[in-house]
Subunit: 637 residues, 2 copies
Amino acid sequence: MHPNLLQPYLRREAWCDVVPKPKTLPVDALAPLFQLDRAVSLSLQEQIRRTFISAIGSGVLPASAKLPSSRKLAEALHVSRNTTMIAYQTLIAEGHLVSMERSGVFVPEAHLDLAELPTQIVDLATVESPSVMGQRLVAPPLRPRSTIIAPPDWQTYRYPFLEGRYDQSLFPTTEWREASRMALAVTEVEAWSADPGEGDDDLLIEEIRTKLLPRRGIEARRNEVLITSGEQQALHLATRLLVTEGARAGIEEPGLPETRALLKGRNAELVYLPVDDDGLVVHDLLANCDVITVSPSRQRPTAVTLPLERRKALLELAETHDFLIIEDDFECEMNYLDSPIPSLRSLDGGNRVVYIASLSKVLAPGIGLGVLVGPPELISAARRLRSITTGRPSPNNQRAAAHFLALGHYDAMLRRLKNVFEERLIALRDALNHYRPLSIAISPVRGGTTYWVSGEPSLETEKLFRAAQARGVLIEPVDRYFAASPAPPNTFRLGVTSLPTSRIREGIAQLSRAMQELADSNGRRSVSRTEPAASAVSGQQITEALSGATLFYRTVYGETSTIILHPDGRMTGQSGEAGEDRDTGRWWVDGDMWFRQWKEWAYGEAVGYRVALVEDQIWWLDAKGNKVDAALFVEPN
Amino acid sequence: MHPNLLQPYLRREAWCDVVPKPKTLPVDALAPLFQLDRAVSLSLQEQIRRTFISAIGSGVLPASAKLPSSRKLAEALHVSRNTTMIAYQTLIAEGHLVSMERSGVFVPEAHLDLAELPTQIVDLATVESPSVMGQRLVAPPLRPRSTIIAPPDWQTYRYPFLEGRYDQSLFPTTEWREASRMALAVTEVEAWSADPGEGDDDLLIEEIRTKLLPRRGIEARRNEVLITSGEQQALHLATRLLVTEGARAGIEEPGLPETRALLKGRNAELVYLPVDDDGLVVHDLLANCDVITVSPSRQRPTAVTLPLERRKALLELAETHDFLIIEDDFECEMNYLDSPIPSLRSLDGGNRVVYIASLSKVLAPGIGLGVLVGPPELISAARRLRSITTGRPSPNNQRAAAHFLALGHYDAMLRRLKNVFEERLIALRDALNHYRPLSIAISPVRGGTTYWVSGEPSLETEKLFRAAQARGVLIEPVDRYFAASPAPPNTFRLGVTSLPTSRIREGIAQLSRAMQELADSNGRRSVSRTEPAASAVSGQQITEALSGATLFYRTVYGETSTIILHPDGRMTGQSGEAGEDRDTGRWWVDGDMWFRQWKEWAYGEAVGYRVALVEDQIWWLDAKGNKVDAALFVEPN
């Protein structure tokens, strides 16, 4: 609990005169707790005593709160003052209450420790003897398959690689406060406070319709747009309205468990649609679907992007086989390599598409706002459904978001986030590439905020999660994204929304060490234990073999690097699709170790390895003789 | 649309130099609209032209917006400048765009009129040829049975008697702004912005748990409370989790259509439970239910209150027949006649009760916040369900509400609203009693903000609605509250949350005139046309009959008034259960008319009537001889 809020009820400390005098708990707030019954055998005094004990025990009476006088309590409860006085005295004698001379009766301090209260979120699995109501609960939706999840106190970890959670530097505090203040102007308050109605904020609709949607190629009229309290609500409304009982509903595999839960809630027959490095595979399975959900801009969870050709093919298939598409346009504007690809809704055949997007990616995860775009009948029905399930999203936040957009803050923030996330994703990629003991491969992404990482086949993500957690690193297990097949045990996700660039390298270094530890504790030589052993060569042999050689080398993110080791000790490298990423550096031999130092690459640091020559490959070995990485090499002519 | 937001795009008016120079629509916001395809037979120029016409027609390009130059557009679209120039020229020639010398090309002004845009909320019934998606919509929930509903522009009416909509004087603007500002402090923002998590605001939970719930007799631990985006969401979560497929679900009749829609959405078998002047009838029908919903504090929609004895009987029945109860504690603290009755959840057997309350009644309808209280398993499952259907209620509003409570504003506002609403409800009651042509009866309420009004059997609410609307009066039809039986055609609701006390009397006077008009246009003598005709007596006869007589008279709200007409022209009256409401006045005869004037009652105004004497009754007649009201009279001894 926030200490400031309790302040008024805190009792006066002798050592501190500036602490304000405690406010007494108002007697009319207290009185309804006491349901005194003169008919039962228990005395009134005893009934009062029991009520106090229960209310203190459950924390309903806040710790250190001052209680009303016995006289006032007696009046409020219509009992004699003796009754309340004796109740107080007994409670004080028993230690349930404390008496402070000349200041009154208080709830003891001991209960101030919130940690002793039951945790707020109860795992259903831990409930041993369910209540009468618990026994009758309809199968609770979305029971997580994963036993390991991000801890709620993730912000206390130094290296939380968790997509979708934001480190505090990202919230546009100043801009949001400005927009919120505008929404709190008296005339504005009048506009949004009076009505529990179904309508959305006209300004926000206009801003979205004329500024955000056109960027995705979408022209929408006012009656084709509904504001939601986030993309999840938009998905709920769309699935509820478009998925009939027993319909065949296609869902990406891997895909979001929340989407699965919504479709199962409709008693749909789920069709699991495969995903490859280009996103949803346009596949025969689709032909049997009545409706499908897809995240083309950034596949969730693998972060890959559906190319334009596949989008067109998907829409053609939808027309041919008469199915509908629910498009989750996640991270639509977070492409770094190229421009965003037009949304499905905006393409020919888009009349079969319901479009869903979130504003929270830019505003902040804490501000839940999203948008649903579809034909007027759908939007009208969705508005109705929204009104009976939740009501419209907070109109004050809608208005603040409208100002945020109108002031240009959204665009500015989007640009800023794009820069920040690109920088972080590159930092993550480079770190993954640098700490080669990982022996991993990552999904080929065009942007976004996350990598889908596959390690050696022997890697066990669950063990890695715990080993990394002990080093302050949080990774995301992926089993919850799989339903039709078991999740690959060697796969996890790394996201960059939740930690600054400056911590990424060290976080991956720690993760790398955790992986190495795991491998060591398994009694294996290294994570790449499947490789045959090889012997390090001497410094002399290194110099002879590598002077003037060209090395061909594959990065962790799938690109080829070419490195030339000039005889004079210079080193030049180029990488990227068109060799656009270049660097120079130096190499040398010291004893039997080979050293290299780039100007930019690999953090510009000097690193030394032992070297083995195996057929046409050069292997770099660490101090224990474990293979760290390898490259093809071509000797000088 | 708010003119200020459009301002940057408005073109410069020659007559006004202070209008800021219009901002040009950014070309990168415009470009994605154009999906140019070189493969099709349509020329690029024609494709550009068609895109513009569509975007202007749909309002995606705001009226009066300035367009980028043909050069910039050409660059962005990767076409020749000729292409964009010709497109612009054609569009200008056709009138789709306008050219202003030396300032550029603009979207015409004509589209600025929002009234020409499609209305935001489409009635499904009006859609003539549904889209491909419209044809596949799952039966949209909650199609209103009523053809007449409150117009969205109700705030422009002078006399809106609409419960649940607030006139602007009621919103605690200053206090809410203070609380919101506190929630916008940088450290606060950090607390709520980072995470899209499932948890609620700890401060708000504590405030509700320790201040609001105890007033309703409820002790709840932290894991027994969930914040919702209003009572409707709480109801959605509770029904979804406690009503199994095909369960028998009891619902009050009349009752809320939204609740019915939720239960039908669960494919429940609905059991309609009768309601009388004491609320839900504890009835054999209940024994067959698996779960029931009930609004004991203020029955929705009749506004009556369930007495304590019935509450206890209901809980006993629940125990005997093993059903669960969803308690909607609507307007729990709005009793004026006596203290609130303890909630079902707080009584013996309350472990079978899920408790629902709204904070919006005090905060404002626009701030949707509510609370769900139940056992930890239920709350845990509800949290899960909330996370897949909407996400948690806006954390910034949760935090602001927590501050609002902690600062004591909630209590202060509650007291204020109680005073205001009581004053208004009494004003409404007195006005209804005064304008007797209404010939109505109202529900016996202990408080709240609304009356359930029944007129003469011949009254047709639908006609009255339109006649009243023409006079600036909005009443609420009640057919939407009935499902098992047709609504009584002569019944409607009048609420007082939406207009100040000062307008209530005139509003009811107007309503009364509308009723009289309706009766007249039906060719009937009066709304009480079923009465036999009676002849007015002379002034002399009036004086003889009434001097010293005692009149017994029943108010519209069911109380008996006793009026003594003293021979000296004084008049004394007493009313109320214990005769606690007293007044004095004068009566006299002028010609053949009887006049009376109270000091306080009936607004202290002098009124004259013709009089008929029918057996032991005195009838007051208006100028046309129609009976206005009647009383029993006892002649002086």
